[in-house]
Symmetry: C2
Subunit: 275 residues, 2 copies
């Protein structure tokens, strides 16, 4: 457990994680939340089917041995002030945001008592996880919605405030499966952030301290615009194609690590040391 | 006209180019093939509908003012030795390969008299164009077929000999529209080539000498593996996810140029000079 760290861990899942059998990604979430001593809140704000989705994750987390599992159902914004939820959060060791529509997470939870309680516990070291919409909401500025399978243009994505667990980075999910390179680049081009994570289905970015590790069957595509030599976003009308010259691209499968401060894969540092 | 160059030009189209109205991409092909003095052979080898597709392109090229347009229909391999086709090639100023299945281009034309005639005329300076399958066949080693919308793995693509107009580079088409970053990276990882072009629909890479220019409504995604610091392809079984660290990525819309020798966008050189 990471309760002794300055900050908690994030488990950011690209959607469609395995829910039968090995459940590698969700297993990693529960392990990091405290394993058989974990007390997990399932945040169903994003979904229109909170009962069904809540029951699914309850079954999985209980099967994996979590000590206590609680569905935090915030269909209405006032639900996010319920004393029973706030009380549960005081001793929770992990929260997991389900998929659905990320805009619903913002409209029902952001800046509520529950939001403050989760951020307080996150600062104390608990694990915050989320899948799909629950991944998209992690940054300070998130992708609200946008087109897949298109080249980058300003009007490909709508951006807005996220839940700010992971500032300064753009997260996109279902990345390889929905062909979202153009969408992620469109999002990155429109804001100061230079680092984008394209997270595949059944795959997670697990962040602890300054490093993340990849867990799951797909890859994480890291796009880094910090050293670009040209971008034309200031010259464009919104339906015109973006130019971006000199971006960096890292494709990271299960087990690979990446340093968020140096913006380099950890294997890269090893290769340089060896050379 | 480029007949005075050491080598001809290539017009490599990502598929689904506009066929009514402005026809920017096909217009560029005809202009470079000699405009109203062009004599164009339409290569229908890839398609199962040679008559219909041949008639479509004949109509377009004639509307744009080509002096002579001829459908080169090679349904069977022996068709590629027809004297009338070889005779036409002697004075052709451009050939255009239609879409369909790139494997059919190889099986009916490669290493035939017609293939030699086209390469001879290409060396003399004519324009070789192609769209979709007609783009895929351009390299010496081409993508025969493969999965879209997936993360990079060795078994994502099948590679095989191409028509070798553009050696040392991997070409993929319908790039943004079909989410083919994983497929292009999978192809690049398996061969010595380090440069990949992902060409969008209604978009062309126009190569002359050491430079290409982008024409059309989408973008060309250039992936450059020449400076990667890590790749795990030698350690993998075929269904395991690839790792690639330190690739370069350039997104180039209409009008942007790229130098094939330095592997840099021409804007980048300008930016460096200015700095």
């Amino acid at each position: 457990m990471a309760l002794n760290e300055n900050r908690g861990q994030l488990v950011i899942v690209g959607g469609a994680e395995q829910k039968e059998g090995e459940c590698k990604v969700l297993r990693e979430f529960v392990r990091r939340a405290g394993g058989i001593k974990s007390r997990i809140g399932i945040m169903t704000a994003a979904t229109g089917l909170p009962r069904e989705v809540g029951e699914d994750y309850t079954r999985i987390f209980e099967r994996l041995g979590a000590e206590e599992v609680r569905v935090i159902d915030t269909e209405y914004r006032e639900d996010a002030s319920k004393p029973e939820y706030l009380e549960f959060m005081e001793n929770a060791t992990g929260v997991f945001f389900t998929g659905g529509d990320q805009a619903r997470i913002i409209s029902t939870i952001k800046d509520t008592d529950l939001d403050r309680a989760i951020h307080k516990r996150y600062a104390e070291g608990i694990v915050v996880g989320g899948t799909s919409a629950g991944a998209a909401m992690m940054p300070d500025i998130m992708i609200i919605e946008g087109d897949s399978e298109t080249h980058p243009r300003v009007d490909v994505v709508a951006m807005g405030p996220g839940m700010a667990f992971l500032p300064g980075i753009v997260v996109d999910q279902h990345f390889s499966q929905r062909g979202r390179l153009g969408r992620l680049l469109s999002a990155l081009a429109q804001q100061p952030a230079v680092l984008g994570f394209g997270i595949d289905e059944d795959t997670a970015v697990v962040i602890q301290g300054d490093e993340f590790q990849v867990v799951g069957s797909g890859v994480v595509t890291v796009v880094d615009l910090s050293e670009i030599v040209h971008i034309n976003v200031d010259e464009l009308l919104k339906d015109e194609a973006l130019a971006i010259c000199g971006a960096k691209l890292h494709i990271l499968p299960d087990g690979y690590r990446f340093n968020l401060k140096t913006r380099k894969p950890v294997v890269e540092q090893m290769a340089q040391q060896a050379a």
